[in-house]
Amino acid sequence: MSHPDKKRLRRSMMFLNCQKPALIKDPYIYQPDSIMLDLEDAVAENQKDAARFSLYHALREIDYRGVERVVRINGLDTPHWKEDIRVCVAGGADVIRIPKCTCGADVHTVERDVLAAEREFGREEGSTLLMAALESCYGVLNCLEICKASDRLIGVALSGGDYTRDLQTGITGTGVELTGARQHMIIAARAAGVQCFDTVFTNLGDMEGFRRETETIHMMGFDGKSLVNPRQIPIVHEIFTPKEKDIIFAEKVVQEIDSKKAQGIGVFTVDGKMIDIAFYDGAKRTLMLAKAAGVYGGNLV
């Protein structure tokens, strides 16, 4: 059976530098769904060890109040990733993010070390989840294989900076350079039944651009977005908050499917729309999002 948190809500995933204790001591005050404690690019090469100490202390001592703790470890081509994994597992991180993931074998490599660490530190086997960041054309093309590589894998995230460099373009602000990867990744993730997260938007001076991009990826079907600043959180949550009419409709769909199923009816109409079991998960997801946003107080989810 899969980990109970594998499909939890992950609209906002905020990057924080493990080298800065003042940042990681209380990011829950901004109420992101997940935080991404970074051991990789934000940490200077000669500070990796200090960052790991800081991370371990934070994971062990700080109550993050329900905010999911994801850790981005260093790449498999560095000397750091094995020790990173031991610290993550010993500290009890919820999810490990594999950077620069290119294929299913990368996931397997990390999974092996995670399992060994879980045994070493007496953690429940399978308790540490994984996610994969796709940062190259090769990785994006292998997305389906990566998504299916492990039952621990919660999903995949696009890393736009590295990916566009590999594509021999750059971040243009229009999104055109990311269209193919986004479309491919969301299709693959859905096919494999895992989540899909969009890349960061780094221009903090352009909040309107950030809003437009978030609206786009929301419409494309993404589950959430990586963030670099707390002020981006409320915008993402607002965009991912279902509208009142959608909530009411989703409530009816869930209730009707539950009751019609008992009566042996498969297809029926709600508010003039044809509904069958295929709508069930979508309606449930709408209600989950609504509940997380504080606009649904019912008990159907």
């Binding site: 001591k25 209380d26 005050i29 901004y30 600043n229 707390p230 002020r231 504080g294």
Partner: protein, 520 residues
């Protein structure tokens, strides 16, 4: 004796300062007293000029001698030259045992510290002291016990005759030769002269100091010639760039913005947020951000502020210009936008310090406040606030209007981060009580807010506003969980200052600092 906020005030301090202990904010309500009066000299001869060519000449004409009390205002803020030039002259004259009665003193006045050390200055009354004067007092270099009063408390102190000013030196951006003084129209404009008004009325001798003499009549005058003995012209009364700076850029600090958001969410959920509400806020990043958030809600709900009070900065001026505020009533200007507005907008009005906050007159503006948004260095589980001493016990801040507005407002909100650097800002016991907890209704931090149990009526607003709610003890525990329980500051034995409550009683004392000594 133990006072109403639980502080033990030594009897010798009560005796030395002639002051009672603090017995509660309303203890002196309805008290009868006779106001003090200055001894003045008539100017009947219309041909006698008030003009003097130097500070020395002004001092001589006022009969300056040892032991006198000299007063100053702080409207030139960190750009002030007047205090230093007058004290230098007093020092050069060899005068001793001078008492300074200032509305506030800052880092601009660091140069007078040697005069404290050599006995020229032996007594100081001020809203607070920053910079090296604060260090000198905290290190026990001032002979007498320093008195720190609020803006309203200072006016009361003067009007009651608790302090009698011998010579008031009033820096004035413009003056005419008869002594009509205005805060605008000169080289170094400060917008208002509110805190100097009591000095002009109650000092025996009043000397205007200006670097911009204008033709008679310099009206409408903030301070009238009927109260001014001499007009002294100097090259410069201050540094205009430090008197009125450009508007501060709105903060982008997410922690401050979160506190501001929480503050506004609470404010708009209270019953006091309605058409015509009366509001005061400070000039810190979170305060200004909360004003900006509040304005958004005012626009959405079509609610206007009837009156904005207090020290004014550009964000409030912009709301006045937009029509979101009916009137701005002003005692101090923090930037050029505010200075220009009070000098030109008929709905932006200067008032005196007494009108603003004196608890012993027949009704001050602070009593009409619906909301005041304040900051604090520390707030404790009794909701007492400290705005004067830092985490080492050093005097580093000023009361300003903090206790006055807190006592007057229907809803007093203190915004503070849970931690100030490595120190918990929400703590078990503040180092120094400057504002009693009975006057503080809500504490807003970036983690959530706490409502004073004395105000159960505000709990409903707190519950409906969506901000996380904690008890003040829980906030304190969260702070201590992050940085640990702080060891008490170690002080020396000598009491170097008292914090005067608005009514003139002693709410707390400040002790001499000493080096921290480890237990082993």
């Amino acid at each position: 004796m133990i006072n109403a906020v639980g502080r033990d005030i030594p009897e010798e301090v009560m005796k030395a300062t002639g002051r009672d202990i603090f017995r509660g904010s309303l203890y002196h309500d309805n008290r009868e007293y006779t106001k003090a009066a200055p001894t003045v000299r008539a100017k009947i001869d219309p041909t006698r000029s008030k003009l003097v060519g130097s500070i020395r000449e002004a001092l001589n004409r006022c009969g300056a001698h040892d032991g006198m009390t000299i007063s100053f205002h702080h409207h030139f803020r960190e750009g002030d030259y007047v205090v230093n030039m007058v004290m230098e002259e007093i020092h050069n004259m060899g005068l001793r045992n001078i008492r300074i009665c200032a509305s506030s003193l800052g880092k601009a006045h660091d140069p007078i510290v040697p005069y404290i050390e050599d006995g020229t200055i032996t007594s100081i009354l001020s809203s607070g002291v920053r910079g090296k004067i604060g260090e000198a007092i905290s290190n026990g270099k001032l002979r007498d016990i320093a008195v720190m009063y609020s803006h309203g408390g200072r006016v009361r102190c003067i009007e009651e005759g608790r302090v009698h000013i011998d010579i008031a030196f009033i820096g004035a951006p413009t003056a005419d030769e008869c002594g009509n003084l205005r805060p605008n129209g000169g080289k170094s404009n400060c917008g208002v002269l509110s805190y100097a008004y009591a000095d002009a009325q109650y000092a025996d001798h009043v000397v205007a100091v200006t670097d911009c003499l204008v033709p008679f009549p310099n009206i409408p005058a903030s301070i009238s010639m009927v109260n001014v003995d001499y007009v002294c012209t100097v090259d410069a009364i201050g540094d205009p760039a430090k008197i009125a700076t450009g508007a501060a850029k709105p903060t982008t600090d997410q922690r401050k913005l979160l506190m501001a958001k929480y503050c506004t969410d609470f404010v708009v959920a209270t019953p006091y947020f309605k058409e015509g509400f009366i509001y005061q806020t400070g000039v810190g990043g979170a305060s200004i951000a909360s004003t900006i958030y509040l304005a958004e809600v005012m626009r959405q709900r079509n609610i206007r502020m009837g009156l904005g009070l207090g020290g004014i900065a550009t964000p409030m001026v912009r709301l006045l210009e937009e029509g979101l505020i009916g009137k701005l009533v002003d005692t101090q200007d923090f930037d050029l936008g505010a200075v220009e507005s009070v000098g030109s907008n008929p709905n932006h009005i200067e008032i005196t310090g007494s009108e603003y906050a004196n608890p012993m007159n027949k009704g001050a503006y602070v009593n009409q406040l619906d909301f005041v948004i304040l900051a604090a260095l520390e707030v404790d589980i009794h909701f007492n606030c400290n705005v004067i001493t830092d985490s080492t016990g050093l005097i580093t801040g000023a009361q300003g209007g903090h206790p006055d507005t807190a006592a007057g407002a229907k809803c007093t909100i203190v915004i503070t981060p849970l931690l100030q650097g490595r120190s918990p800002a929400v703590c078990a016991d503040v180092t120094t009580v400057t504002t009693p907890g009975e006057s503080v209704d809500v504490v807003v931090t970036e983690y959530g807010l706490a409502v004073n149990p004395l105000r159960p009526d505000l709990m409903e607003a707190a519950r409906s506003c969506g901000v996380p709610i904690y008890t003040i003890e829980e906030l304190k525990d969260m702070a201590y969980a992050i940085v640990g329980t702080p060891e008490p500051i170690q002080f020396g034995d000598r009491i170097v200052g008292i914090v005067e409550a608005r009514d003139g009683s002693i709410i707390d004392v400040v002790r001499q600092i000493k080096e921290f000594e480890f237990a082993d």
